[in-house]
């Protein structure tokens, strides 16, 4: 994203710092995947700002949460021993960990008129309100859990998906949409020719390899 918007100021928040969005207007709030212990610390650190996050989601601030980051905003994360960690309860999903069974999948999904390609790699599955406010419907790969093809959450300009990075590099059309949400009218991408070529080739390959019946 920084290469696409070279003038953008990137604020990296360390674990013991107050998030910048509490006092400033931020155009994109990003949270990436973390370790299980990391998730628990992040929940504790973000708890005082729950209402602020809800307010920002409601007023249309752009968010991108990838990998297991969405679980932080869910109701709970359950361990295999039955113990559970309470989330921020902004979205009513419940994650369930299975640490000796990592789930990996390639995905093809449809978000509005765009095909999204990418990868998921996670210990958890999410249950609860996973059908509501979903980001996309998958044609390939596991959704929020093994019984659904609904993937991610979208509410206003809040976007969360278990799909991991480099989701933006792999999906130039989606990246442009995200930039538009951030208020950029005619977004252009860094290395647009190269990323589009790689995207089109991957899309074709995924369809051919994993969905031979499709064109």
């Amino acid at each position: 994203m920084h290469k696409c918007i070279p003038d953008a100021e990137i604020i990296e928040t360390e674990i013991n710092q107050k998030p910048a969005f509490v006092e400033q207007k931020i155009d994109l709030i990003y949270l990436g995947p973390s370790s299980e212990r990391g998730q628990e610390i992040i929940i504790q650190k973000l708890k005082p700002y729950k209402e602020k996050i809800e307010e920002l989601i409601e007023n249309g601030t752009t968010f991108l949460f990838t990998g297991n980051a969405i679980e932080v905003l869910g109701d709970s994360i359950k361990n295999e021993d039955g113990s559970q960690i309470e989330g921020l309860e902004i979205f009513h999903i419940r994650a369930k960990r299975n640490m000796m069974n990592r789930r990996n999948s390639n995905i093809i999904g449809k978000y509005e008129d765009i095909e999204i390609v990418g990868f998921k790699s996670q210990f958890t599955q999410a249950y609860g309100d996973v059908e509501e406010n979903s980001l996309m419907e998958l044609e390939l790969g596991m959704g929020m859990n093994e019984n659904t093809n609904k993937e991610g959450i979208k509410k206003n300009h809040f976007i969360a998906t278990y799909v991991i990075g480099p989701i933006l590099i792999l999906n130039p059309l989606f990246t442009k949409k995200l930039m538009q949400m951030m208020g950029i009218e005619n977004p252009t991408l860094a290395l647009e020719k190269e990323v589009m070529t790689a995207y089109e080739a991957r899309l074709k390959e995924f369809h051919k390899k994993f969905k031979p019946e499709s064109k």
Partner: protein, 461 residues
């Protein structure tokens, strides 16, 4: 060791018969006999007779090299042992090795076992087998799909390493040195080097905050990624004091002096001065000293060591050096080290990048997240005159290398490795570095042959 059951004997004899049949068919028994035995008798590893001294080697990078070094030095000194050099490093491979080391009654024939153990597989091995010594070389992020993250792997190791096992760990690695906190440990370290830096030159550091109090760690110096010397400014967490410290390294003379806990010093030959291999050698020296080898015995072995050709090779052809360097696909640290080598090795160079995990690709894996944890930025260097990209996912690698700042005019590419190599511009080039994946040995050979053909052609013009 628990009592042997009828199931155990059926599994053992069946597996031994299977090994003989595989040998007659000319195939290596790398894991099948063990897999068969474990399917019949799940606690087979617990029941089978074991060597008196079991040396385990685990960690993200360097397991195979360390095992090879231990085995070569033991062999040089006429020790008899079993090892899984030709077997896999997961439970079935280890069971296969143990089967080869016992007689028909299941009794161990040799006193020493050297076992490379995959760090993710310890949950299936350590409940049944207690290493006398366990070397943990280092812990870095590895395949995201399999190993997730280092906290997970460190947690698995801590959970399953038997309490009686004495650990030999890298003190300069704050993740590795903190596994299994209740076990007896011997720490090894390399003292501050001139090449150490105040800032980290890598994208990835797998430990940034103190695992005890979440305060940002302060580094006295970085060596590579999270390797270096650090402490928490808020609590007692930090790099432990080492028992064996390589405190004088003479790269030109290829010598290393080790300061031991009792303040005595010993000098050793270091046939390979790459920092990773110095750590590997240090781990080997510490281990061999524990089992009673003298400095002389160890050094005699070290002097003759060679790095396996599939990991590193160099050859001079008509004035141009052709180097092959393993850049293990999906392993961002191993690839970053290889790319740094391409940057720092002398001369004007061409880097040929073939880092697709072709073997994984054959199984349908597409995940390229690891490329963005890898320091492709090292390839953006004035001494690297051309970067050639090949392999099934070459389009992704082009994007990554362009993101790293390598100018378009320096990049050549083709999916096919020979066609890509044909685009090499050898004018003014001293060295071609082929950075290849573990499963691309044949492709690497084809690249080398094409290069030789081109060099020859250039000479005859």
């Amino acid at each position: 060791m628990s009592k042997k059951t009828l199931k155990f004997y059926i599994a053992l004899w069946g597996a031994k018969a299977g090994s003989i049949i595989l040998k007659l068919l000319g195939r290596n028994a790398t894991y099948f006999p063990g897999k068969f035995a474990l399917s019949i008798c799940p606690n087979f590893i617990e029941m089978i007779g074991k060597s008196k001294t079991i040396i385990g080697v685990t960690g993200t990078n360097g397991k195979t090299t360390v095992c090879n070094m231990i085995e070569d030095t033991l062999r040089e000194n006429n020790y008899k042992f079993i090892d899984n050099k030709y077997g896999s490093n997961i439970d079935s491979g280890i069971a296969t090795t143990l089967i080869s080391g016992v007689n028909l009654t299941g009794k161990a024939k040799k006193d020493i076992a050297v076992l490379e153990i995959d760090e993710r597989s310890v949950s299936k091995v350590f409940p049944y087998l207690t290493p006398t010594y366990l070397i943990c070389t280092n812990l870095f992020r590895d395949s995201l799909m399999r190993n997730a993250h280092t906290e997970f792997i460190a947690g698995v190791l801590t959970k399953y390493i038997p309490k009686q096992t004495k650990l030999i760990v890298n003190a300069d690695d704050l993740i590795c040195s903190n596994i299994a906190p209740d076990n007896e440990k011997i720490y090894f370290s390399i003292d501050k080097l001139e090449t150490d830096t105040e800032k980290c030159n890598n994208i990835v550091r797998d430990i940034i905050v103190c695992p005890k109090c979440n305060t940002k760690l302060e580094y006295e110096y970085y060596r590579y990624h999270h390797i270096g010397k650090a402490h928490c400014p808020n609590c007692d967490f930090g790099t432990p004091k080492a028992d064996y410290i390589a405190n004088k390294i003479d790269i030109d003379k290829k010598k290393m002096t080790i300061l031991q806990k009792d303040e005595t010093q010993e000098e050793y030959d270091i046939p390979n001065t790459n920092i990773i291999n110095m750590y590997n050698m240090l781990a080997v020296i510490v281990l061999l000293k524990q089992i009673g080898l003298t400095q002389e015995q160890i050094n005699n072995g070290l002097k003759k060591l060679k790095i396996v050709e599939t990991r590193y090779s160099e050859e001079e052809y008509e004035g141009i050096k052709i180097v092959t360097h393993l850049a293990k696909g999906m392993n961002p640290i191993a690839c970053s080290r290889a790319f740094e080598y391409a940057k720092t090795t002398d001369g004007n160079k061409i880097a040929i990048v073939l880092v697709d995990d072709l073997h994984e690709d054959a199984k349908g894996t597409e995940n390229i997240a690891w490329q963005y944890d890898t320091d492709f930025e090292f390839l953006n260097d004035d001494t690297i005159k051309q970067v050639i990209i090949a392999g099934p996912r070459y389009l992704d690698t082009i994007v990554r290398i362009r993101m790293a700042g390598v100018p378009e005019e320096k990049i050549a590419y083709e999916k096919n490795e020979v066609e890509a190599t044909a685009k090499a511009n050898l004018e003014g080039i001293d060295k071609v570095v082929i950075l290849h994946d573990l499963y691309s040995i044949e492709e690497t050979e084809r690249i080398k042959n094409k290069l030789k053909e081109m060099i020859k052609e250039k000479e005859t013009k």
